[in-house]
Amino acid sequence: MTYRHQEEMSPPPARRVTDVAITRFEHVYEVEPALMTEHVTQQSFPNWDTLRLVRSRADHLAWMHRHFAGKVISGEELLHDLDE
């Protein structure tokens, strides 16, 4: 988190990904802002809160894996076995 409020309220510049999505942080996508102007408008989020939401989601999914099984097997590892 940065020290000044204004810095947190200034997200990095957007990069277009598709016709309907942009990105500002790595692996984090947003709906193209022009599509959120009539019925649902975009909210201003501090950068730390955007990243916190993303991390929380990842934590939740990791918890769900642990809840159902002791270990998750990697497909990339199994594919490597097949290629050998």
Partner: protein, 499 residues
């Protein structure tokens, strides 16, 4: 029926349950008047119960039903309220019996691998306790964190990993059930609480599952337990066309891998929908037109061996593995689809808040392609008529380990705040048409939710044929005063005067 404050009925209920467990406030009743399935919210008041009771035991439920039956007051059981066919929605006012206080773990029997619980417990919370013993109760709906065992019995629910462990009907061994007049019976295979197979007498367990609260209320259930899986594997694959993905999902499901817990096919409309809003799929190349995933659970050596076999099959059929991050993330999210915030698009592309309709027919594998096209035509018709509807694409989930049939789901976004009477009429017509396509292709209207919503319910007598007449006779015999969830499944016909 309307119960007024001061009414003797209220006093009697307070005497049975204690004053704090009889709720008459507007918020208490409004919150128990709907389920997540989209409906015309301007008609919310039509679904209001007169009051809500919160019993704590089988005996209290029995006393409430005895009183309601004597006074002919409608009763609607409510568990998590997560069902998608309006089972927990009162159509005639009356009393909502909310069972959330009946949520104790009564016994964990390690020797027989069972547990006995109050039906107000949630599987996620139960599994947190069972994990201490290395066990799991693997009933895994999309509402896993919020649905309750009693609701799963009332709907005879479907489980995401049912191809490995069975569905609710297989996992619930027996339960205490309060009949409409207040009599308590125990139903299972034979009389046993923990018996997994009996041929003694009629098999009543199935009769008292999936009735949507029209035959009474389950209160305490004994459940089958399994070792908590040592390992999980959930590969996701991309395909360049639907036909290749369709062939692959069939081959994976028919492979006979013992740890196979399920496979899912995503069609082109679903991929288009995910490209709008889902981090995993927004960056995928445009060549990706359809997806398949599978899940395996068991001991690590078994899962690794089965996983290699499925990877080989998928690769031979043109699949591209999507990588560990997408595979693991998307599968974990499938246990908790009610937590997903939803929005749709108007025809001009503007984002609008929408609620989720999930059609859930059972369709044989060989009929999936034809049903998919017919259903999307219906969704396209709705979309042409109104911006209130948005086609979110289709999934097909294996129902069992042999790949015979699939829970076939078309997701349609519905803008509830704009769902006026005209749009609702169009929706009910579409629901009827979706069900008609299912029956034309030899399917069943519902694999999971039940089929008593407006529109679909009109075709239930056609689906069941002579069996529907038996259903009417059973309803009349068990609930002679029609107090249990009246208005559902067109069962009022059971009480029509003979001409």
């Amino acid at each position: 029926m309307t119960v007024l404050i001061g009414d003797p009925v209220l006093e009697e209920l307070r005497g049975i349950l204690g004053p704090e467990h009889v709720l008459t406030g507007k918020a208490d009743r409004l919150n128990r008047a709907r389920v997540p399935a989209p409906f015309p919210v301007h008609r919310w008041a039509e679904r209001m119960p007169d009051l809500v009771v919160l019993p704590a035991s089988t005996e209290e439920v029995a006393e409430v039903l005895r009183l309601a039956d004597a006074l002919r007051i409608p009763v609607v059981p409510r568990d998590g309220g997560t069902g998608l066919t309006d089972g927990a929605v009162p159509l005639r006012g009356g009393i909502v019996v909310d069972v959330k206080r009946i949520n104790q773990i009564k016994e964990i029997d390690l020797g027989n691998r069972t547990c006995t619980v109050g039906v107000g417990i949630n599987a996620l919370k139960l599994n947190e306790v069972l994990a201490r013993h290395g066990l799991i109760y693997p009933d895994d709906p999309a509402s896993y964190p919020c649905s309750l065992v009693g609701g799963r019995i009332g709907t005879s629910g479907w489980s995401l990993i049912g191809s490995r462990y069975g569905h609710t009907r297989d996992l619930v061994l027996s339960f205490d059930h309060v009949l409409p007049g207040g009599r308590v019976i125990h139903v299972g295979d034979g009389i046993g609480r923990k018996i997994t197979k009996s041929s003694s007498g009629y098999q009543l367990k199935h009769l008292f599952m999936g009735h949507q609260g029209t035959l009474g209320i389950a209160t305490e259930a004994t459940l089958k337990l399994f070792p908590k899986p040592e390992a999980e594997f959930s590969p996701f694959w991309a395909f360049e066309d639907y036909d290749s993905a369709y062939r692959a999902v069939g081959a994976l499901a028919r492979a006979g891998v013992a740890t196979f817990a399920g496979a899912v096919l995503f069609d082109e409309w679903k991929v288009d929908y995910l490209r709008r809003d889902d981090e995993a799929y927004i960056p995928q190349p445009s060549s990706v037109k359809a997806l398949v995933c599978a899940a395996l659970y068991g001991y690590e050596d078994e899962v690794r061996a089965g996983g290699r076999r499925l990877l080989r099959i998928a690769r031979s059929l043109g699949a591209r593995y999507l990588g560990d991050e997408i595979s693991e993330g998307d599968w974990a999210a499938r246990h908790d689809r009610y937590a997903t915030p939803l929005h749709g698009r108007t025809k001009s592309g503007q984002v609008v808040p929408m609620s989720w309709h999930c059609e859930d027919a059972s369709i044989n594998y060989t009929r999936l392609p034809a049903v998919r096209l017919a259903w999307h035509e219906i969704a396209a018709r709705l979309r042409r008529e109104s911006d209130v509807f948005d086609d979110w694409g289709m999934f097909a989930y294996t129902n069992g380990a042999t790949g015979a049939d699939y829970l076939t789901e078309i997701d349609i976004g519905i803008w509830e705040q704009r769902l006026d009477d005209t749009a609702w009429a169009a929706w009910v017509r579409a629901k009827r048409d979706l069900a008609a396509v299912t029956l034309e292709h030899g399917g069943s209207i519902s694999a999971c939710h039940g089929s008593c919503r407006e529109g679909e319910v009109d075709l239930v007598p056609e689906e069941l044929g002579g069996g529907y007449d038996v259903m009417l006779a059973v309803k009349r015999a068990i609930d002679p005063n029609n107090i249990m969830n009246p208005g559902k499944y067109l069962l009022d016909q059971a009480y029509a005067e003979e001409p």
